[in-house]
């Protein structure tokens, strides 16, 4: 076991998979000579060479399209989009094409590619370095979308994503890169895509969350212990496919669910989780399924006090938990 940051976990996952499988290669802006703007691919060019570590032009649609083409021809590309905010030009290649390869070719072709990007805010990144992008991809059948929150989860899930035979969108919250440290096994391991993780057991209220928010939720859970509220925290880890069994199991246990995510509330992942709960566990609900999520504001503000208002912190979560607990 070694303590690693999320960034180190991501770096190690890619490095180990590239050593293990010659068809794995990385491509993206600044990932080669520079080692990545966050140093996620530091040392890769030296170790694996130009053929497997490709610095691309500033052209996201091409990054995704080339990765897709390579994947359909038997390679396993890990394409990086430097910031999630720049992922939009890839929508046509990913949603319009990659997601449909296996289905459209009746299984004759598939696209084992990973598109990874740092996303999320709270880093004074403003309009172009703060967006949450998971909802758009999580809406698309044919894709898998992973949003890890800890180093252990990030490494295990990224390895699984690379080994997966279909397109996976891997979204790392940039604020967790260095802020979140955790134990990571030295031995080889992978984690299953589509399985949530119960990060804290409780009996009064369930919080379902993912990404950076997981850590604020855990903090909030500690805080409300003093109000004698016992909180259970379920980390989704993957937002497509959702771990429906885990979601329903915790709902049946506590009867009160609060969904927390940084992404804007309307039509976000929380909306789907809420619908699943009310469709399948209605008789187990002891309070309305509630969501605490990003506001209806087009972008994360740059001014610090406004960004603070936009972002969800453990105090806001604790308040929401208390309200639901006393219903």
């Amino acid at each position: 076991m070694t303590i690693k940051t999320v960034l180190e976990a991501v770096h190690d996952a890619m490095q180990e998979e590239m050593r293990r499988d010659k068809t794995v290669f990385v491509m993206g802006e600044d990932i080669g000579a520079r080692g990545g703007v966050f140093l996620a691919t530091e040392g890769f060019l030296q170790e694996f060479g130009e053929d497997r570590v490709i610095d691309t032009p500033l052209a996201e649609s091409s990054i995704a399209g080339v990765a897709l083409g390579a994947a359909m021809h038997g390679m396993r590309p890990i394409a990086e989009i430097e910031f999630g905010d720049f992922i939009w030009p890839t929508i046509n290649q990913i949603v319009g094409e990659a997601a449909k390869v296996r289905y459209g070719t009746q299984g004759k072709l598939n696209a084992p590619m990973v598109l990874r990007a740092p996303h999320g805010g709270g880093v004074r990144g403003a309009l172009y370095h703060s967006q949450s992008v998971e909802a758009f991809f999580a809406h698309t059948p044919g894709l898998k979308v992973i949003t890890p929150s800890t180093p252990y989860d990030a490494k295990g899930l990224l390895k699984s994503a690379i080994r997966d035979d279909d397109p996976v969108i891997f979204l790392e919250h940039k604020r967790t890169y260095r802020l979140v440290k955790g134990e990571v096994p030295d031995a080889e391991y992978t984690l299953p895509i589509g399985k949530a993780d119960l990060k804290r057991e409780g009996s009064d209220v369930t919080i379902i969350t993912y990404g950076l928010m997981l850590h604020h939720c855990l903090e909030a859970a500690e805080t409300v212990e003093m109000d004698d509220i016992d909180v259970e925290v379920l980390d989704l880890r993957t937002v497509r496919p959702l771990d429906i069994d885990a979601i329903l199991e915790t709902t049946k246990k506590t009867g009160k669910v609060l969904i927390v995510h940084e992404d804007n509330k309307a039509l976000g992942v929380g909306a789907e989780v809420s619908a699943i709960i009310s469709e399948n566990a209605f008789e187990y609900l002891d309070g309305p399924v509630s969501r605490l999520a990003g506001p209806e504001i087009p972008a994360m503000p740059f001014a610090p006090p406004l960004e603070e208002m936009y972002m969800i912190d453990s105090e806001k979560i604790a308040n929401s938990v208390r309200q639901l607990a006393e219903y």
């Binding site: 880093v123 009064d204 002891d286 509630s290 999520a293 209806e296 806001k316 979560i317 309200q323 219903y327």
Partner: protein, 445 residues
Amino acid sequence: MKIELPQVGESVTEGIIGKWLVAVGDKIEKYDPLVEVVTDKVAMELPSPVAGTLREIIAVEGETIPMGGVIADIESENEKAAPTTEDNPADLEPSSEQDKEIGTTGILLKDVAPVGPTGSGGIIDSASSIKGQNRGSRVIYSPAVTRLAEIHDINLEMVTGTGRNGRVTKKDLQNFIDSEKTSVDSKSIDQDDKKSSNTDSVRTEGTYPNVLANDEEKITLSPVRKMIASNMVKSATLIPQAWSLVEVDVSGLVELRNKVKDDFQKREKVNLTYLPFVLKAVSESLKEIPLLNSSWNEDSIILKHQINLGIAVAAPDGLVVPVIENADTLSISGLAHKLDYLTTRAREGTLTVSDVQSGTFTVNNTGALGSIASQPLVNYPQAGIITTEAIVKRPVVVNDAIAIRSMMNICLSFDHRIIDGEHASGFNRSVKDQLESINLNTQIY
């Protein structure tokens, strides 16, 4: 004024304090370098945001401080003049309209008050117009509470609510269930006081002394056990029950089953026991004599048109009776599948409320445990319950000669208010005839 370590990079979260460039007591101009700070991205000098005098150094050289952490205290010139803090936005007075917490619902849902935790996380005044708050004195029970109350047969009016506006929460109900009260509705006991003296001996609270002797052990009751007990008390005290037994020659049934069971297993992936055949016979008999498929309703008898057979199963927590709905519409094979499904779930403890509701008649396979005669208690509020006893090879007289036949007793307990001996015997006769007419030609599918 507290000096904080500013955010210097998107993913930088902490910095190490280097050399302090000023000392306590020094006079500082705005933008004078205060201290060196090292992060993994950059080494820099931190400029002072204000002019004043350095009052205190809080973070020492070599210390690691998170972004936003306090590193020093400067007595700024402003403080000497008027003690105001940084965050006094006196100029920014939001209009009274915007002041209301639009919170996170914003433009999309402007007219909806932020309901509870779905707002921005602030405290919501419960007097604000949230749908349902205006319901006045109407009492609402949540789905979870209703469900639990049904399973444990609890009168919710007896439970005190500690939720918002006095709502009975799941926790309240759970506490009520766990407490020493039984779930017997005391009203129905009073009602039948005049009927039998049995009720005098029925107590709603345990009367066993609280102090245990050395050779005694107390077992606390599980919710399931409490429920079973309550149902048994109701059955024993409210239903006057009589009992009748007939012998059934099931040699034909045994022969048939032995012949087809292996193929059935291979084909259907489910075991074919004798029970599906019994269920079929019972269903048909209930159609012939509908009075057995009813319920006493004080001043009337309610005939049930659906034939929903409850099957008594021994589950880990105690006896449970899952129900096969519309059993008369299923073939032997269909019944076998349904049985397998329900008994598996019963043993795993995964039955749902809907699995155990709506039964109209009960069948109990006591024979599985070796019994050849048993006197079951009617499953309140049904009218009858039938057992199938062990199949035993016996010497019997057939056509004036001794033959060895497979014999099975069936025992019927019934509500004598609804059913007389004539119906009971007729029913038993019908089940017996059907079972005895099973042979190798009988349809399974």
